[in-house]
């Protein structure tokens, strides 16, 4: 076999490997996002029940309850982008956190089995979402790194891949002590 042919084959193999690794990274991000999406939907489905259960008692938190209902209907709109989903998720997380903290101030609510049941379901889903967010961020970091690092950046550019955004996890989860305790268990 002639030398140029060998070089050509080696180059072709490297290109194929680079292409495949980029596609694999992109698919990993998409897969994990799909899981998060499913979990977020599960959580959105619980919101109306929670609002209905607590609104009778919560006089001072009416605005939070209205906000969260509005956010939920926004999140349920068809054709919203991944970026919007990520933003809505962080707003809803913090609003839900405030509601759960507020429940502590109402003995009637704490004694209400329905509310407690909802609260536990929420914290379970929240723990799963927290895990999925972290997995997503790792996948996105791997993907973004490949987009910026030599030599995959040239290939990624040619393929038209765009960098993706990370979930912002820390602040609102740390602020709501009570909630984060439940979530991070």
């Amino acid at each position: 076999m002639s030398t140029p042919l060998i070089i050509l084959i080696v180059v072709a193999i490297i290109l194929v490997l680079m292409y495949n690794s980029l596609v694999a990274k992109k698919n990993q991000v998409d897969n994990i996002f799909a899981t998060i999406d499913a979990q977020l939907k599960k959580r959105y489905d619980l919101i109306p029940n929670l609002v209905a259960a607590v609104s009778k008692y919560m006089e001072h938190e009416k605005s939070i309850l209205e906000d969260i209902t509005k956010l939920r209907s926004e999140a349920n709109r068809p054709n919203i982008s991944d970026k919007e989903k990520i933003e809505l998720d962080s707003k809803i997380s913090s609003a839900l956190g405030s509601i759960i903290v507020a429940v502590e101030d109402y003995p009637e609510l704490k004694a209400n089995e329905n509310v407690m049941h909802l609260q536990r379901s929420l914290s379970e889903i929240e723990a799963q979402i927290a895990a999925a967010r972290r997995a997503y961020n790792q996948a996105v970091t791997d993907y973004n790194n490949a987009l910026e690092m030599i030599p995959t950046n040239i290939m990624a550019n040619a393929m038209g891949y765009q960098p993706k955004e990370l979930f912002v996890i820390p602040e609102n989860e740390r602020k709501n002590v009570n909630v984060s305790e439940l979530f991070n268990r």
Binding site: A132, R134, R185
Partner: protein, 319 residues
């Protein structure tokens, strides 16, 4: 659960009469061990000299290996009574003092099946021995642990057998408070330590017998451990930021390599002490603070994982 200082009090106050009897017993046995040891050594040296001068070196080395095995056996034989008394009168009451529901069986061990189920050390194990089996419930969470010594057999082309040590240390099994379906395995990070981030990272990635490599978002944890899992999300569901911190703290307290796996609703924790724990030596007094603390701390550490790793805080879906 009792604290370490409460247990130390118990050891030196309540167990003191027993300790005194055992101490007298130990001194007598130590004398015997030394006397018999000297005679035995002279005897071995004489035979070795004879073999060296008159027979081949091969036979001599074979004899020396045999003599070494005999020494071990002889020592175990001489201290047998003392060793049994020590476990019955010191270790057993200590375990009951930690928690009344704990059962202790000095000659039993964790089953080979559990060891293999943990997937921590491969599935090809040819011999398992162990002792000091403890089983019970802490805060209603089942826990069991024992000393375990697992080996693998190798046969070379000439048909000669040799045994390779797979694990020697403390093996703990408990229930994990969250539901999960796959397997997640946490191992000491040897590759990254030896070869650095770049090559070590590449080696880890290609070690797929455990599952996919999971990169964790805690720098210190990543340095100490490497995580493999069948599910990227589930691995993080189990290893929350808090859990990672707790495992790091646990690692610091044990000062030995730890291996952890989460499979079938259980947590398996192996601490590689590379020695048989809870054994009495005739050359150290049981009254020595350092010796006493070793027994107490090891027991406390093993039973304490339920509280330490918050295994008693079940998520409600598992109630």
């Amino acid at each position: 659960m009792k604290s370490i200082s409460e247990l130390t009090d118990f050891y030196y106050n309540r167990l003191y009469p027993e300790l005194e009897i055992l101490e007298a017993q130990r001194k007598a046995i130590k004398k015997r061990v030394i006397n018999i040891g000297i005679i035995y050594l002279l005897f071995v040296a004489l035979i070795a000299l004879y073999l060296y001068q008159n027979v081949s070196l091969d036979i001599l080395s074979f004899f020396l290996i045999f003599a070494l095995a005999c020494t071990k056996w002889l020592y175990a034989y001489l201290i047998r009574d003392y060793s049994v008394d020590f476990k019955e009168k010191i270790i057993a009451p200590l375990i009951t003092e930690i928690d009344k529901t704990l059962h202790y069986a000095p000659t039993q061990h964790i089953s080979a099946l559990e060891f293999i189920n943990s997937r921590l050390f491969g599935t090809k194990i040819d011999r398992i021995r162990g002792n000091d089996y403890v089983k019970g419930k802490i805060d209603n969470i089942p826990i069991e642990f024992s000393d375990l010594f697992a080996e693998k057999k190798h046969t070379d082309s000439k048909g000669r057998e040799s045994w390779e040590r797979v694990f020697l240390g403390l093996f703990i099994v408990s229930e994990f408070p969250k539901n999960f379906h796959g397997q997640t395995i946490v191992l000491p990070d040897s590759a990254q330590k030896v070869f650095g981030d770049l090559i070590g990272g590449w080696l880890q990635k290609n070690n797929s017998s455990y599952g996919e490599l999971v990169k964790m978002d805690n720098v210190e944890f990543e340095k100490e451990f490497v995580v493999y899992s069948t599910d990227q999300i589930e691995a993080r569901y189990i290893l929350t930021p808090l859990m990672m911190q707790k495992l790091l703290n646990f690692k610091k307290r044990t000062k030995h390599p730890i291996y952890v796996s989460f499979i079938g609703g259980k947590i398996y924790l192996a601490i590689e002490y590379n020695s048989d724990m809870f054994e009495a030596s005739v050359f150290h007094s049981l009254l020595e603070y350092k010796i006493a603390m070793e027994y107490i701390q090891t027991l406390h550490l093993a039973v304490g994982i339920v509280e330490e790793l918050k295994l008693n805080q079940k998520l409600w879906s598992k109630l």
